[in-house]
Amino acid sequence: MKVVLAGRVNLEHTGQEDVLESIISLMNKLGVDLAFIENEVVCMEASINLGISDVAEELFREFKEAVEEIKPDVVVSAYAAGVAKWKRDVPERYGLKLPVPYLHLTEFLADEFRKRKPNLKPFPHRYFLQHGCTLGRKLGKFQPAREVLSHVPELEVIEEDYPTAELEGMDPAMFNSCPAAWLNFAQPELGDYAKENYVLDVLVPRKPEFAGSTCANGHYGIRQGLEIAEIEDIKPLYFTQILDQVWR
């Protein structure tokens, strides 16, 4: 299977090479033929989210053409914004459509794990999982991450609760707090306080050993928040880093 991994440059740009390495390693273990977009720009989805409308169409068109040239079976990303933008905004605004599905990494791995039933080593730790705002709340994709992590023996996944979710007939993850990573693009000086507050108010009281988001952007927010708040006994760990470690 040929997979285009979108968002490589974002991971490099934000210093998350460890996350990138774990994804590549995991894909290799799955026997995937991995390809990347040459000249990919950092987070082209920000062109829409920040209103940089004069270049947005061009960026998405170039991405589409690059995908068409590579001819993959699927485009996969650790970021949720691409999944969301190609689902609705890009077709609606620019009439552009990718020739193959664009999946979030959690969806791709959930499908693969369902087929392969991997034999994973135990990971006996408390892991806090944040459902990325776009992937979770906007797209309603909570189950793939839960399903993937359920394959890891002895892993204790902690999620944020919300007192009225059940009464309102909603998945509590719909109310997951936000580590405010999008502010990096527009008001980073304000964003630092929001990230710190997220860590202090949401993560610390739940006492996890590790924490991560389903979305690599949210994960970056958590990572920065832990640094700013100077919390050392909670380590940032993207879920692919767990999977890569426990792969037999």
Partner: protein
């Protein structure tokens, strides 16, 4: 002549405030933690006690969709109904006209005016306007009273002093009333303010308030409150004036009641202490069935409907959802930026939805731009909003307009060159 500020100067001033007065203020952050915990706990209790409330949301959304799509027709119907009820009704095209109309109603200077909490009067800066005309104006909602005496601006749509801790409130009220009030006795603080304001109520010439909904069929104002200050504001003075945004109009009494019960339930109340329905001046028919106005309540009832861009906005398919906001303030308790900055996130109206109100209604695109870029577009406000208002979607669309107008911050313009290499 004062030089117009550049967009970057506006950004710098805004960031200095939101960070200096907001994010760096540990007391404010603690106050927000307490408020958030109380909000969630109260909402849980309310939804457990009244589980049917969850179903209010969908109907409320439909009522607002219909009302905003038929706004001009409903304004006409409301004005007819108020006149039929022997009230006076005005449609003010902007804030200045609304303030001028109200100043004319109040009349000669040196009047005592008692006011209920109202975001619409904040939008027009009515208190300041009337004070400049020589009147003595008192905010009578406790939170808003504290806003007035510390010369601040409301930090939340319903809880204007949400940023204050009890310790700060005790200090402030002690200073105003001259009583030494300890922070552990909130009831003593409340009693002190009650005593201070009571004399203002009994001597007031005019009472002013907003409203949570208006029914177009009967011209009835619905006002939710807990303190009883509106009860006094709307009944003791000779004149009662309501300043209400036209988006509060819904077709019928039933619709209006549905909107107010949805508002109070998601605003944090099991049930409010008072819900007033006011349809005109005080009247009696007790002598020979001859209707006579000005019995025990106000002889004059004035409704000033405020447009200020709302009618135009109601015709904008991309942004008309802004007008669905009931100002319950629920979204703010779950906003990651509000958690650290309270109402400093915003200019006139607070929060992400407030940034949209500021842009289209209260302040204009240029002044609202920094707050529009403070939104983390996390979409959590939509989930908490009883009307499912998609603030993040509108923020993203508005940013494209701001960018085209040159109102994006420099850092965003640099994304294009540095990250996109264009």
């Amino acid at each position: 002549m004062e030089k117009e500020k550049s967009i970057q100067e506006i950004y710098n001033e805004y960031l200095a405030e939101i960070i200096g007065d907001g994010a760096e203020n540990e007391t404010l952050r603690e106050a927000m933690r307490r408020a958030r915990a109380a909000y969630r706990s109260n909402l849980k209790k309310a939804l457990e006690t009244f589980p049917e409330s969850v179903e209010y949301k969908e109907k409320a959304r439909k009522i607002k969709e219909y009302s905003i799509d038929h706004l001009e027709e409903l304004i006409e119907r409301t004005m007819e109904a108020v006149r039929r009820n022997h009230g006076h009704v005005y449609l003010a095209k902007d804030a200045e006209e609304a303030n001028r109309i109200i100043a004319d109603i109040v009349g000669e200077p040196k009047k005592i005016i008692v006011k209920g909490k109202s975001l619409t009067t904040e939008e027009t800066e009515l208190r300041q306007y009337l004070q400049e005309k020589g009147h003595e104006v008192w905010e009578t909602d406790l939170g808003e009273f504290l806003v007035q005496v510390r010369n601040a601006r409301p930090m939340h749509m319903l809880a204007p002093s949400v940023d204050l801790t009890r310790e700060e409130a005790a200090k402030l009220i002690s200073e105003i009333t001259g009583k030494k009030l300890p922070p552990d006795k909130i009831e003593d603080m409340v009693a002190a303010v009650r005593e201070f304001l009571r004399e203002k109520f009994t001597s007031a010439h005019v009472g002013i308030a907003g409203a949570n909904a208006i029914s177009a069929d009967t011209g009835t104002l619905f006002i939710i409150e807990n303190e009883g200050n509106i009860k006094l504001t709307a009944s003791l003075p000779e004149k009662f004036v309501a300043l209400v945004g036209v988006e509060k109009i819904v077709p019928s009494l039933d619709d209006a009641f549905h909107m107010v019960k949805t508002t109070w339930r998601f605003a944090n109340y099991m049930v409010p202490s008072y819900v007033h329905m006011i349809s005109g001046p005080s009247k009696t028919g007790d002598i020979e069935k001859v209707t006579t106005y000005g019995a025990h309540g106000p002889k004059e009832f004035h409704l000033v409907l405020l447009d200020n861009g709302r009618i135009e906005l109601s015709k904008n398919p991309d942004f008309k959802e802004i007008l669905y906001c009931m100002k319950c303030g629920a979204c703010m308790y779950e906003c990651p930026i509000f958690w650290i900055a309270a109402g400093h996130f915003g200019v006139r109206y607070p929060g992400g939805i407030g940034a949209l109100w500021d842009a289209f209604i209260a302040k204009g695109f240029k002044e609202a731009a920094p707050a529009v870029y403070s939104c983390a577009i996390c979409d959590r406000c939509r989930v908490r909003c009883p009307l499912n208002i998609d603030t993040a979607r509108m923020i993203i669309k508005l940013r494209a307009i701001l960018y085209e107008k040159g109102y994006a911050p420099d850092i965003v313009k640099e994304v294009k060159t540095k990250l996109f290499k264009r």
